[in-house]
Amino acid sequence: MRALQVCGLGVRYGQHRVLEEVDLELAEGEFVGLVGPSGCGKSTLLRCAAGLLRPDRGQVTVFGRPIAGPSPEVGILFQDDALLPWRTARENVALPLRLRGLSGREARQEAEVWLRRVGLEGYGDHYPAELSGGMRKRVALAQVLAAQPRLLLMDEPFASVDAIVRHLLEVDLLRFVTEAGIAVLLVTHDLEEAISLSDRVMVMSAGPAARIVGVHAVPFRRPRDPVAVRAEPGFGPLVEAVWRALRAEVARMGWELTA
């Protein structure tokens, strides 16, 4: 069974065709990176997969079922960390557990376990405003993982944190999803991030009417260290190959590219 299957997806805003004939598949437990020029509709695609946006055409199925709204099997991590500001870190992580019917006490206990897993032991009583950007990201990650999704959709999840914290988050993320067998669709601008984490990297065409125009298999096996993998001999050529595909698309948007 496919974790995610998108068939002939089309989305338009008024007269503007954003996506057209998008097809993509994610196997169970597979990590797929999605790169494309800015504004090409990557986020729109992700919102369709999350059940937050109804496509005009085509079909989205998650684990064999057509999607009709947000599902507990699907976790979402977007760029802005939308933690509830009036809830402490622990209560934020406990939220999906309570929504699943756990008692407040059980939910808080399990939330504490998740906080420890993302390295935030002892920060449970802090409100989001009292935490750094990187720490908030970790709380958001713990929150999503605590809901125990089978498919994780991420849109530039680490874009707002500095490079060092970002690497730490990538290491944690990859370990968690590999251990738990969670399928991931990651939208990012960062080619190296996409390659270092993914099993496959897909390139989207420039909009309007964006589609998937290329798929690159990543030859590194998991579990792997997403930082160390950048030193592998095959890494550089792969970045080069994906960049070439992407550059062709960026050029279509009117950028003057030399060399």
Binding site: A50, L52, G69, P70, P72, V74, G75, I76, F78, D80, A82, L83, L84, P85, W86, R87, T88, L95, P96, L99, R100, V118, G119, L120, E121, G122, Y123, H126, Y127, P128, A129, E130, L131, S132, G134, M135, Q143, V144, A147, V165, L168, V171, D172, D225, V227, A228
Partner: protein
Amino acid sequence: MTRLAALVALLVSWELASRARWVDPFLLPAPSAVGSVLYELARTGHVWVHFRVTVWEAVAGLVLGTAVGAVLGLASATFRPLAEVVEPAMALLNAVPRVILAPLFVIWLGIGVASKVALSFLLVMVVMFFATYTGVREVDPRLVERVRTLGGGRRDVVREVYVPSVSAWVASGLKVAVGFAFTGAVVGEFVASSQGLGYLLSFAQSTYNAALTLALIALVVAVILLLFWGFGRLERWWLRWKPEYRRRRRQPVPVPAGRLPEPAEQL
């Protein structure tokens, strides 16, 4: 501390100026004279009747105004056609000085308590309407989306996002509303009444009793400051998650060592 010193300096120089007859004590009585009037008022107990009436009017206006304003605000924010009627009316009421309606209330409701409660109610209601109306409309859609994608239904969204978000607006609105509630009561009494602090003020003015006037002003200011302080405390507690109300001891948060993999693991 500086402010306290400045206040003391002001009172002392005022006292001296009045005693030395640099200013006419008839127009500006010394603080000690005002103080002794206050003391007399308290001792004879005469003022408490009026005090109670005014506080009662203000509290009644505050409670009714908050209830009606909040319900109208919620209803308008969730039901579009209602907003199209109510919102411009409220905006108009907000733009004009609402106390000009005081004489009308006296004609309609008489010179008793009812006309003062009505004025106080009107002042409070407009503030609370906008607090709840904007509160609901300003709810962060990302938070709604977040709760939904984590498996929450409509009721969860209301409980986890709408209620806390709107109550933050209501809390700040209440602080403003308390002052307005007293404005409504006192101004209403000023226009026409037989009791209340506004009535006493009007009486003091008509008899050119500056000391009594100042004493009553001091009394009203003291009550409002006390309520302000009380509501401020309540707001700080209620909105303790906001960065501006952050508890001091929590301020600098050291970033924990994190989960850097061991070097051996890395290579």
